[in-house]
């Protein structure tokens, strides 16, 4: 019998197929556990058909799929399952939105978005998988997106 590393949840959300090692960053992007009292379970480096992956389970909270889409920046193949009464009620494959706002710091130190101006960082998505983004202001494409997450 397959051993479960983290238990099934009755109600809530499961983010599966996260690129191995990125679960903590995914939580950071989603602002979890800040602002939530839900039980959050994290499994890292779980064996899967396609190598290793991370899994995040958030109990008693249904994450908004559009909100979760942002995690495609670092986990482009992740899926989100909404669980109701131990069953998968909805399944959604994350997909990067057209723009990423206020989430990534521009890698160009002389970009105006890094100055003390009343604007949030803004990136245009130029490729969804592998994720490639371009600064709306200075047009630089950061190579190390995960390192640039605010």
């Amino acid at each position: 019998m397959k051993e479960l590393k983290i238990p099934l949840i009755k109600n809530g959300s499961v983010i599966d197929h996260i690129t191995a090692g990125n679960a903590v960053k995914v939580l950071h992007i989603l602002g979890i556990p800040k602002g939530t009292s839900s039980v959050v379970s994290v499994a890292m480096n779980v064996k899967s058909k396609m190598g290793k992956k991370d899994i995040v389970k958030v109990e008693n909270r249904e994450l908004d799929p559009l909100e979760v889409d942002k995690i495609a920046l670092i986990a482009p193949r992740a899926t989100i399952n909404i669980i109701r009464d131990y069953k998968v009620a909805k399944k959604h494959k994350v997909e990067l939105p057209r723009e990423i706002i206020g989430l990534v710091k521009c890698s160009n130190p002389t970009c105006v978005s890094n100055a003390k101006e009343p604007v949030k960082s803004r990136f245009i998505v130029v490729c969804k998988d592998p994720p490639k983004i371009k600064c709306y202001y200075c047009e630089r494409e950061p190579e190390d997106i995960a390192e640039r997450i605010i």
């Binding site: 970009c111 709306y136 200075c138 047009e139």
Partner: protein, 316 residues
């Protein structure tokens, strides 16, 4: 000419990057600039921008760009407010660029901005309802320079397609050459990039040219590249863009355009430079028919007159 203007609507449009424009739109601006030449020379006068005010916000030094914008506005009967040095403004007190733009927006009908930070013009456009023209944003874009360069090449060489155009100098930090390479590829020019290894054209620009169907040649040898060239576009090695002064000292003076070099080139080769130049072109070249750079600088006036008219709705 009013029917000519009706064909395309540029009113209230921001001019941030040459990439925001199609070839058809660039042709339209260049054709309009061509009709502006007698007005730019002062041979004809039509105050089509009378009552209009241009904000000229130069946070970085400039000679040609600032003066040619002011000339363009004056020749069309408009007025200019602004500054050539931000030290006399509230920026010195810590005011944000966004707030400075809000003020210029309230006082004028269009804004020209040069700023040391990349993306500053795009940010300005977010805070202004009036059109914003980018007059250079750090190592970013300088679209009006690009337009006047295209205007000059087309006028001097009777076209751009299939012309051998050599860009030489600082191709890494030079903002003019990035925009120009894109625009020349859009027109189907044959491109050669000559630079020291440490100042090579960024891969994004090379890929951009490839996507437009042009495979640029890259070399460090100017002597070879110049032989078949129709246009030699020279840029200054910009000390102010180097994060490391040692790197600057290693490459400054890498290329020198002189009579001996041009004797090995086609008889009708033209030499262009966005200016200011320092040592990269021998002053002896100024006296030859190859030297187009001062004429090129003048062409900034009709191009900017055309743009200001289009953006503020002035009709001849």
């Amino acid at each position: 000419m009013s029917s000519f203007l009706i064909k395309m609507n540029f009113k209230c449009r921001d001019i941030i990057s040459i990439r925001d424009f199609s070839k058809k739109e660039i042709d339209f601006i260049i054709n309009f600039a061509n009709k502006m030449i007698p007005y730019a020379r002062g041979e004809k006068y039509e105050p089509i921008l009378r009552g209009k005010v241009l904000s000229s916000l130069f946070f970085e030094p400039s000679t040609r760009t600032r003066l040619s914008f002011e000339t363009a506005m004056n020749r069309l009967g408009g007025r200019v407010i602004g500054f050539a040095d931000p030290s006399g403004t509230s920026q010195k007190k810590g005011e944000s660029l966004a707030d400075t733009i809000r003020m210029a927006n309230a006082y004028s009908d269009a804004i020209v901005i040069r700023h040391h930070q990349e993306g500053a013009a795009r940010l300005a456009a977010e805070f202004a309802d009036v059109p914003v023209i980018n007059a250079g944003d750090g190592a970013g874009h300088h679209p009006t320079q690009c337009l006047l360069d295209l205007f000059t090449i087309r006028a001097e060489k009777k076209g751009i397609k299939n012309k051998n155009i050599v860009l030489v100098g600082d191709l890494k930090y030079g903002r003019t050459v990035h925009s120009l390479a894109h625009a020349l590829a859009l027109y189907g020019a044959k491109l050669t990039f000559v630079s020291p290894v440490t100042l090579k054209m960024p891969i994004e620009v090379i890929n951009d040219c490839r996507n437009l169907g042009v495979e640029p040649l890259q070399t460090a040898s100017l002597d070879k590249a110049v032989k078949d060239a129709d246009v030699l576009y020279v840029t200054r090695i910009q000390k102010e863009r180097f994060p490391d002064p040692e790197e600057y000292n290693r490459v400054v003076g890498s290329y020198k355009i002189n009579i001996e070099l041009l004797n090995e080139a086609k008889k009708d080769i033209i030499v262009m430079h966005p200016l200011p130049r320092v040592t990269e072109i021998d002053p002896e070249v100024d006296k030859t028919h190859h030297a187009i750079y001062f004429k090129q600088a003048f062409n900034g006036v009709p191009i900017r007159m055309a743009l200001l008219s289009l953006l503020m709705g002035g009709k001849l």
